[in-house]
């Protein structure tokens, strides 16, 4: 029995040559029993002392460990994790992980295609599995991510990946599952850089017209499966009209959210709202139309001088209480290492810990349409899970020691740990 895989891992780290991403786990999967951990299922339930069986990359069972007598021969490995916390893998939606490497260096930017209307462009193509950033995010418990383009009015298509792969083809978990749109805002903005008010009014009307024209044409196009003259953008949009693809709409102002709901109704789309800072003002409408909300960071400033200074922290709890389906993401790419804390912040302001966990596990899995295989610790689902020394939502105890993706143990090393070890050695601190 390996008593502590963390120690094993550290030994491994110290022997590796510096500045390399670790190799992806090999495909041979073992039969593993995780014994005694506090299992946070991801659907609100907790098993204080759990027994979790893994085989063929799946969770074969999960039950109360008290009174459970394992048949030791049924497992290759039995790991004692009493006192530790087990969670389903965290899911980072709405991220540019792997398509942005350095914010200030243009050569590393592959998330924002030129032009306003880009439904056909696919983030998965640009996804660089060898990004130095990915392992740093993964080692904090994020094992699944939705690689998402930004920019323009229609930014392109996102795909879901597992964060352990040789290239994008084996990384992909769900290909081209949604199209991202920045909804043209009708809100007049006052800022030193803003265009004159009239110009803003004109522009937003123009963009809305451009958008409705596009959708009208794309829908008509989608009625014929054998178009003689193909249109790449319309082809990409087909899935929106039979709801096999999700339309992710980024907007924050209440007025715009209402307009976006109307818009998605008009074309009978499967819409998910992203951003939604003002969603609390229109929660009823979101609930009525079953539109989930992806909150981009709880650790934000209030948007207006007069707002409760803690409003962004309270938003997930407010929306949940009003019956809206809430997920939480971080922003950008490297910041996703702090995804658990974006959820933890919501606990401080009104959510339960298990509710908050759900906003970064089960709820995203549902939005992404992958909840049959991931998102919770349940029989038959992928054994894609993490073990933490303590409460993962609180930074002072959030230390992930073991991670599995479909039953394969992931190497949690990263460039930052390597550099740390290198300099501990230099100063003889270890």
């Amino acid at each position: 029995m390996i008593r502590n895989s963390f120690i094993a891992l550290l030994l491994f780290v110290t022997t590796i040559s510096a500045a390399q991403n670790p190799a992806p786990a090999d495909n041979s999967t073992k039969r593993i029993l995780l014994l005694g951990g506090v299992a946070h299922i991801g659907n609100g339930k907790v098993i204080e002392q759990s027994a979790i069986g893994i085989a063929q990359g799946k969770i074969t069972f999960i039950m109360d460990a008290r009174g459970f007598k394992p048949d030791r021969n049924s497992f290759d490995t039995i790991i004692d994790i009493y006192g530790k916390q087990v969670y389903p893998a965290l899911i980072a939606m709405n991220t540019q992980l792997g398509i942005n490497e350095i914010e200030a260096v243009r050569a590393t930017h592959d998330y924002d295609e030129v032009g306003n209307i880009n439904p056909s462009s696919r983030a998965i193509i640009a996804y660089n599995t060898d990004s130095k950033v990915i392992p740093t995010v993964r080692s904090n418990g994020v094992l699944i991510a939705q690689i998402t383009p930004v920019g323009g009015i229609i930014s392109g298509q996102s795909s879901v990946v597992e964060l352990d792969a040789w290239n994008y083809e084996d990384a992909v978990y769900k290909m081209d599952e949604g199209i991202w749109m920045n909804f043209p805002s009708t809100q007049i903005i006052k800022a030193s850089w803003a265009e004159p008010e009239e110009e803003q009014v004109k522009k937003s009307a123009m963009h809305l017209l451009e958008l409705t024209t596009l959708f009208e044409q794309a829908r008509a196009y989608s009625m014929n499966n054998n178009q003689i003259v193909r249109n790449q953008n319309f082809e990409a949009m087909r899935g929106l009209f039979n709801q096999s693809k999700t339309l992710y709409v980024r907007c924050n102002f209440a007025k715009d959210i209402l307009a976006a709901i109307k818009f998605s109704d008009l074309y009978k789309l499967h819409m998910v709202l992203c951003g939604g800072a003002d969603a609390w003002m229109v929660a009823d409408q979101l609930k009525e139309h079953h539109i989930p909300v992806i909150i981009e960071r709880t650790q934000n400033l209030p948007r207006r001088d007069d707002e409760d200074v803690n409003l962004p922290y309270k938003l997930p709890s407010i929306l949940t209480k009003l019956g809206v389906d809430v997920s939480i993401t971080d922003e950008g790419f490297w910041k996703n290492r702090n995804l658990p804390f974006q959820a933890g912040q919501a606990v401080t302001y009104g959510m339960t810990k298990e509710e908050a966990l759900q906003t970064i596990t089960l709820n995203p899995a549902r939005i992404l349409g992958i909840d049959k295989t991931v998102g919770t610790l349940e029989d038959g689902k992928d054994a894609t899970l993490i073990i933490s020394e303590g409460d993962i939502l609180d930074m002072k105890s959030s230390v992930v020691t073991v991670a599995y993706i479909r039953g394969k143990e992931i190497n949690l090393d990263d460039i930052q740990k390597q550099l740390y070890q290198k300099y501990l050695k230099k100063y003889k601190l270890n």
């Binding site: 007069d306 804390f341 930074m395 740990k417 300099y423 230099k426």
Partner: protein, 1004 residues
């Protein structure tokens, strides 16, 4: 006898004046007309205090000959009987660009421009142009003059509103005659602002840079005056010439008003300050400047909050500013502040008069308004012997009015300027308003109603039950009415005269069929102003000065909090001292200090007003200190134009009203180190503030703290991410950065030597030029000012330590210092501290080897290590950032908390005052409801100097009150909209945050 003498004297005087007036040669015939005018039986306001009834004013040519009750009127005078009329001095606008050339705003140019474009022996800076003389470029602009005259103005101070030192202004009359006659005074005042206007030169790009430039120019001008061996500089020479004039400084808010006054104080100048109308927000401080103010009456419009989703974007401060603006002058007056009123800033002159009348209804008396438009500006400009009042020998500048022009029913009939007559309105003594019976010859009777404004009344005629609107015009002697009795059937036109004794119209009419007839209309009822009295009830509830909050926003308070004794019982105290974490402990706060930590019996304290707080299950820590912050700074934190801008000071631009102060108190922050940005190798002097929310900028400054200065290294300094246009400024590589430092410090050393030699020479040597930039660098060399340096890569960190060693000083702090872990041994040897991020990276090439274990390594190497925010959002949860030192590297919780409390205090040299819970230290403390390093911890109360500036429960009450007050103001605004007032479109105000490098999206 006396009368005759006066008369004779008058004649003699006028002849001599005539001969002296012009150098213009006579062309064709001279056609001189020396006419004397006498205005008799008028109510004459010689000034706001001296009112003569049934008096006479005699003028000849452009001057007043006599004013009095018993004057003899010369036989050759043209006499106007002004019985029932009022004569007052014409107004003076002390802030005008009348007759000036339009300032050409330069097109945006390609790339930065570091040198001035002004050719000649002038200032090195394009925005300093004291040599500009507005009188030289003055041209009569009668179109504009008409507007001024119609509003009662007779003279203006005119200048070119462009630049920081804008040159001199001319004082001109608003008549039509030639410029020579209208120009009353050349160089009447010197003009300044904080706005560089059309200058295309990079420097200064910030408010603090502008202040530094002004201060340096004062020093340069004084040096220029006093030394012999120097180059000629026409700007400095002009600057010196202008110093004896009234100095007028324009600002755009009350905070800058105080800033300008402070600059003036430093150089012995009392500016006359052109304010913006928000002065009531800090009346006490404004009063303390002793400055005379020039105040516009451009009251903002209300907000169209019809759509509730738009309405949420309007803040309480926006609404309050709208409600309070008209009361500003009234409150300034109540505080005995000397002020003039200007029409500048009003969108048109109608608005000006309307708003001045508004002042009168609010309670500013006619005399006070008149004074602010006449005597006060005249005195400030030292032309009160010529204009602003009606006395012998003064300019014949006066208004003939009906009634009080500062009320709705008063009107200006004529405006006389330099003895020239300008007719403004037809003489409208007659108030036509009332109900009339209109009679036509067929014996038909209609009811006609004349209501509304006295000068432009609304008229309706009731035909059967329908009220038909009547179109109405008036000529000098007769009135014309036009109406369409039945729609589409043609017009009936009436013309007639009014007999004011009988209150009756009579005249001819032509019907819609073209038939001629006579008509008459006799008044049967007097006019009642119903609408007015109703509107007073609805919206004229005057705001009270006592309701103003500090600062003016949703989370301001009507009072500025004061300290009282506080006993916190039974709390877990994170002392940051050798005592460690004390459970179930009591803490006494008295006179702003932590007086006792331990077990305290409140019954034996005998402290009157003692507040006891139950700390059961709560935690107490020292307030969080943010070593690297950019909040509460106004007008940009980067003077990132020159490679060295050591002369600029963040302390000059503290914005005490920044909402982020309150928000950060809510995150437990009590002290913030406000830094210059990182756009240049040597940035500016920093400011250390305590978050005393509600106090003014000066009161926020951490008293007695050592001065610091921001340095920066790496990509920002060499403009790596600024685009291809920015490849001009030295340095563009890390090689050049070192050279900039060596050059700067070498110059500072030579500068010190020069001063030492001069001081020793007993006046034999010429005084060196005082240089604010080199002063700051000298302070570093003399260990009087300390460096906090933005830094990432190990090489440059090393470099700066070597430069410091060479010049025999120490770098105090490396901030960001993301590769500090690579050179921790060298840093330790140098004795420098570290203020870093917990886990930031990947935002620039130079941070690709940043690691979240950095803090841990530095700490373990014995370096004083802090975590900072550099971000208004992150600063609200620095306790959580500290907790990341526990996560990454297992630093103990007790030590981790010090990363954001005691350690930054040590780095800032204030650990004798703050940073731990120790008897005698300032009571800057925070009460948390959980372990402060847990993400689940919320701030309950934050104290600075023993004063509770944030209280979570109080915030909830504030939010409720805010909502009530906002609702009231929104209703009020909608009332105004219903009355047809023009409205602002509500827009979403994007907050513009300061980071190290504002040119780019990437913070730090």
């Amino acid at each position: 006898m006396k009368k005759i003498l006066t008369f004779l004297f008058t004649i003699g005087w006028s002849v001599s004046q005539v001969l002296a007036q012009s150098t213009q040669p006579v062309q064709s015939l001279s056609d001189q007309r020396i006419i004397t005018y006498a205005f008799t039986h008028a109510e004459i306001w010689q000034d706001e205090k001296t009112v003569l009834t049934d008096a006479t004013l005699i003028i000849q040519k452009n001057k007043i000959v006599a004013v009095g009750n018993t004057l003899t009127i010369p036989a050759d005078a043209i006499v106007y009987d002004l019985k029932g009329k009022r004569i007052i001095p014409s107004f003076i606008d002390i802030y005008s660009n009348y007759g000036q050339l339009e300032v050409k705003r330069n097109e945006k140019q390609r790339g930065p421009q570091y040198q001035t474009k002004t050719k000649g022996a002038y200032s090195w800076n394009q925005a300093i142009k004291p040599e500009y003389n507005a009188a030289f470029n003055f041209e009569i602009d009668d179109k504009k003059a008409i507007d001024y005259r119609n509003s009662g103005f007779g003279a203006v101070l005119t200048f070119q509103n462009d630049g920081i030192a804008r040159g001199s202004a001319g004082f001109v009359l608003l008549g039509k005659k030639d410029e020579g006659a209208m120009l009353l005074k050349d160089k009447a005042a010197a003009m300044y602002s904080f706005n560089k206007g059309s200058s295309t030169q990079e420097y200064p790009s910030s408010l603090m840079g502008t202040i530094a430039l002004l201060r340096q120019t004062y020093l340069d001008a004084s040096w220029y005056r006093n030394v012999k061996d120097r180059d000629n500089n026409l700007s400095l020479s002009a600057w010196n010439d202008l110093q004896s004039l009234p100095q007028i400084f324009e600002v755009n808010n009350y905070r800058s008003l105080l800033r300008a006054d402070k600059v003036g104080d430093e150089f012995g100048v009392q500016y006359i300050l052109k304010g913006s109308g928000d002065e009531y927000q800090r009346l006490k401080e404004i009063k303390a400047t002793n400055a005379s103010l020039i105040i516009p009456v451009n009251f903002p419009d209300g907000y169209d909050v019809s759509n509730p989703f738009d309405a949420v974007n309007i803040s309480l401060a926006d609404l309050k500013t709208w409600e309070y603006a008209p009361y500003n002058l009234y409150w300034l007056d109540s505080a005995n502040i000397n002020y003039c009123i200007t029409s500048s800033g009003c969108k048109d002159f109608k608005t000006f008069l309307k708003n001045v009348q508004r002042l009168n209804t609010i309670g500013l008396s006619t005399a006070k308004i008149l004074k602010a438009l006449t005597v006060t500006p005249a005195k400030l400009l030292k032309v009160d012997n010529q204009v602003g009042a009606l006395h012998k020998d003064m300019q014949a500048n006066f208004l003939i009015c009906n009634g009080d022009v500062f009320t709705k029913d008063g009107s200006i009939i004529e405006n006389w300027i330099a003895g020239e007559r300008y007719i403004i309105n037809a003489d409208d003594t007659i108030d036509l308003r009332g109900v009339y019976e209109l009679k036509t010859p067929e014996g038909k009777m209609f009811q006609m109603e004349i209501v509304g404004n006295k000068l432009q009344p609304d008229i309706t005629v009731k035909i059967d039950t329908v009220k038909v609107k009547v179109d109405f015009t008036k000529d000098v002697l007769q009135y014309t009415f036009r109406l369409e009795p039945i729609k589409g059937k043609g017009y009936m036109r009436l013309s007639g005269q009014f007999n004011s004794e009988k209150r009756e119209f009579a005249g001819q009419l032509q019907t819609n069929n073209g038939e001629w007839n006579t008509w008459s209309a006799k008044q049967i009822a007097v006019y009642m102003d119903k609408k007015d009295s109703a509107s007073i009830k609805a919206s004229n509830i005057a705001p009270s000065f006592a309701d103003i909050t500090y600062p003016l926003c949703g989370f301001g308070r009507k009072y500025i909090p004061v300290e009282h004794p506080i006993l916190i019982k039974n709390i877990t105290v994170w002392t940051n001292e050798k005592e460690g974490i004390l459970k179930n402990t009591d803490v006494l706060i008295f006179k702003g200090k932590i007086t006792k930590v331990g077990s305290i019996d409140e019954n034996i304290l005998h402290l009157p007003g003692l507040e006891t707080i139950d700390g059961t299950n709560l935690h107490l820590t020292a307030g969080i200190i943010d070593e690297h912050s950019h909040i509460a700074a106004e007008g940009d934190v980067n003077e990132g134009t020159e490679s060295i801008s050591a002369e600029v000071r963040i302390g000059d631009v503290i914005n005490s009203d920044d909402i982020n102060i309150y928000r950060q108190l809510a995150g437990g922050v009590t002290t913030s180190h406000i830094l210059h940005g990182s756009a240049n190798a040597i940035g500016g002097q920093t400011a250390l503030i305590k978050l005393r929310w509600g106090k003014n900028a000066e009161q926020m400054k951490f008293e007695g703290a050592d001065g610091f200065i921001k340095f920066a290294l790496g990509e920002n300094v060499k403009q790596s991410n600024w685009g291809d246009m920015n490849r001009i400024r030295y340095p563009q590589t890390r090689m050049g950065v070192e050279q900039v430092y060596i050059d700067g410090f070498t110059r500072a050393r030579e500068y010190q030597t020069a001063w030492n030699n001069y001081n020793k020479s007993g006046g034999k040597l010429q005084m060196p030029r005082k240089d604010l930039q080199l002063d700051a660098l000298s302070e570093i060399l003399n260990k009087k000012r300390f460096i906090t340096c933005h830094s990432y890569q190990q090489g440059e960190i090393n470099m700066l330590m070597h430069v410091a060693d060479t010049f025999h000083f120490k770098v105090n702090t490396f901030t960001h210092i993301l590769e500090g872990y690579k050179v921790a041994d060298k840093m330790k040897a140098h004795g420098v501290g570290a203020s870093t991020f917990s886990d930031w990276w990947a935002y620039k090439f130079e941070v690709m080897e940043a690691i979240p274990y950095n803090g841990k390594v530095l700490h373990d190497m014995g370096i004083v290590t802090a975590y900072n925010s550099d971000d208004a959002e992150m600063a609200r949860r620095l306790n959580q950032e500290a907790a990341k030192a526990v996560k990454y590297g297992n630093v103990s919780e007790e030590e981790a908390l010090k990363f954001v409390t005691l350690n930054p205090a040590i780095l800032l040299h204030i650990d004798n005052r703050v940073g731990s819970i120790k008897e005698g230290k300032d009571a800057d403390v925070v009460i948390w409801d959980n372990n402060p390093l847990s993400i689940y911890a919320k701030v309950q109360k934050t104290f600075v100097d023993g004063i509770c500036y944030y209280d979570a429960n109080e915030e909830m009450i504030m939010l409720q009150n805010l909502n009530v007050e906002k609702t009231r103001l929104m209703n009020k605004s909608l009332d105004e909209k219903n009355k047809g007032a023009s409205m602002n479109r509500p827009s979403y105000k994007m907050e513009e945050f300061n980071h190290c490098n504002n040119k780019e999206q990437f913070p730090h």
